[in-house]
């Protein structure tokens, strides 16, 4: 895996950035934690000092842990909702990480698999589940083997009171949506399902189901051990704790880092080796995220400060776009991929998003005109809130933010044709815009 981590250099930390938590083992050893090492470091994955399952829920609520998959939903509330349904529940670890620019879940599972699994087993104990499903993309065969070995270690040690099952799902952009996992585990296609019923009410095998992101479970495991006050020592009062970020693009040491919420974006770029070129913009949140013009790079990675800019921390993806690149062309390729990789179940993904991608490609190629641009704006405005999942909403966010961030380029492309950079090779890797081979 081409993952470096600036977190290895502990001298790079100032108090504002806080010491790594999830990656602390990796930072001190530089190797994957075996079960023996993991247990030596953290002790057994029991409820620890918490006396009852609900006290873990209370600790998670007091800690203010939010989901690290992108949406940022309060984890305590999710745990409580499933726990209060009663009956046998199911826990699903979402390790699908379909965002092409994100590597953090894969990295975390590689270096600290037992921290994630501990958290999932704890969550199962809390919500009354007897099984944990770990869902990985089928494309990550090596990781599948590593995790199978990790599960074998735990089975031999008779560590867990619940069953753990590993699954390899088709890897598409929308197969990481929580209802896609539920649908696939129930024998169907890995495509999003509209609600109701909601997953926490009736999910896998019609049982109350908790689906959470890989990293969220690892934080949960540490909160159960060290408590809410410890967790809140990093981050901001509104958004406590640390998060994993994946930094790529025009930085010297792209890779996965652990940082506290509230860390300024340019500090994160510095910790990823610093910029290799003058930057034009930063893509925050991945392909369903927001282009931030370079003048906003001092903004902290925090929901409250990013909201006025139309952005959010999301799943911690930062892509640095150099000034020498064409933002419109880069965005056009992203939209083409998002359009091709959607589930194609709802109107916006069947027609709206492909039309937006086509309009955007014309704009990037210098084949657009003011009428087509206003049609593009209208079509982008009609994508959100009209699908069974949030795929079109994310694509609309990307397109709308590109139209804002690259407004000067748009003028150039409309009046003088595509800029010189549009003819050069793309700078940001995007998967090919072809429909998924299978949903099953």
């Amino acid at each position: 895996m081409n993952t470096t981590t600036g977190a290895m250099n502990s001298s790079a930390f100032s108090p504002a950035h806080h010491a790594p938590r999830l990656l602390s083992g990796w930072c001190s050893t530089g190797a994957t934690a075996t079960l023996v090492e993991h247990l030596r470091r953290y002790g057994p994955p029991a409820l620890g000092t918490r006396t009852s399952p609900m006290s873990v829920v209370e600790a998670v609520e007091a800690a203010g842990l939010t989901g690290r998959g992108g949406a940022g939903f309060p984890t305590g509330r999710k745990l409580r909702a499933v726990a209060e349904r009663g009956g046998r529940a199911v826990v699903v670890v979402n390790a699908m990480e379909s965002e092409p620019a994100s590597l953090k879940d894969e990295f975390l599972l590689t270096v600290a698999p037992h921290l994630v699994l501990d958290g999932a087993v704890l969550a199962a104990t809390v919500v009354g589940a007897d099984i944990v499903h770990v869902c990985l993309p089928r494309t990550r065969a090596v990781q599948f083997g590593q995790l199978r070995a990790a599960l074998d270690e735990r089975r031999s040690a008779r560590l867990d009171p619940v069953r753990l099952r590993l699954h390899a799902l088709p890897h598409t952009y929308v197969s990481s949506e929580s209802t896609s996992l539920v649908r696939w585990l129930n024998g169907g296609p890995a495509r999003p399902q509209g609600s109701p019923p909601r997953t926490h009410e009736r999910g896998v095998a019609r049982r109350p189901t908790l689906v959470s992101n890989t990293e969220t479970f690892a934080h949960l495991a540490l909160i159960a051990r060290y408590g809410a006050d410890w967790f809140r020592q990093a981050g901001t009062p509104d958004e406590p704790g640390t998060l994993l970020v994946t930094v790529s693009g025009a930085v010297a040491a792209p890779g996965v880092l652990e940082t506290a919420f509230g860390t300024p974006l340019d500090v994160i770029l510095d910790r990823a080796g610093g910029r290799t070129e003058s930057l034009q913009a930063l893509l925050l949140g991945g392909l369903g995220g927001t282009w931030l013009p370079a003048e906003h790079l001092r903004v902290p990675l925090a929901r409250r400060e990013l909201a006025p800019l139309g952005a959010a921390p999301g799943a911690g993806v930062l892509v640095a776009l150099p000034r020498a690149a064409c933002g419109l062309s880069e965005t056009a390729r992203m939209l083409a991929y998002l359009a091709a990789d959607g589930a194609g179940q709802c109107g916006p993904c069947r027609f709206g998003l492909p039309a937006v991608a086509e309009d955007f490609a014309a704009l990037a190629a210098g084949r657009s005109d003011p009428d087509r641009l206003s049609r593009l704006r209208r079509r982008v405005g009609l994508l959100p809130d009209r699908g069974a999942c949030r795929h079109p909403d994310g694509a609309a966010r990307l397109a709308a933010s590109a139209l804002r961030a690259f407004a000067d380029d748009i003028d150039h492309h409309l009046t003088q044709g595509a800029c010189a950079a549009a003819h050069r090779p793309p700078r940001i890797p995007v998967p090919p815009a072809v429909p998924p081979e299978t949903w099953r």
């Binding site: 179940q345 027609f351 009609l382 009209r386």
Partner: protein, 76 residues
């Protein structure tokens, strides 16, 4: 005694986005609350159904050939 709110329960529109194939009947029958996009898929202007449009909304839901338009009890 005069109740502050109408005694009849409020209704909201819900569209099953996966079932919907953009036939556009809902927009024809309930233009007050539903617009159509250029492909015939509904754009809900207001989910809350005012009392005077309740019969129209019910008729639009019944007319959807995919049964994708639903009237749920309660305001959002």
């Amino acid at each position: 005694m005069t109740p502050a709110t109408p005694v009849t329960s409020a209704k909201t529109l819900r569209i099953d986005r996966i079932a919907c194939t953009g036939q556009g009947l809902c927009g024809e029958l309930l233009p007050e609350l539903i617009d159509l996009d250029e492909w015939g898929y509904p754009i809900v202007k207001d989910r809350a159904v005012p009392d005077h449009l309740r019969a129209h909304a019910r008729r639009a839901a019944a007319a959807c050939p995919l049964l994708a338009l639903h009237l749920d009890a309660g305001r959002t």
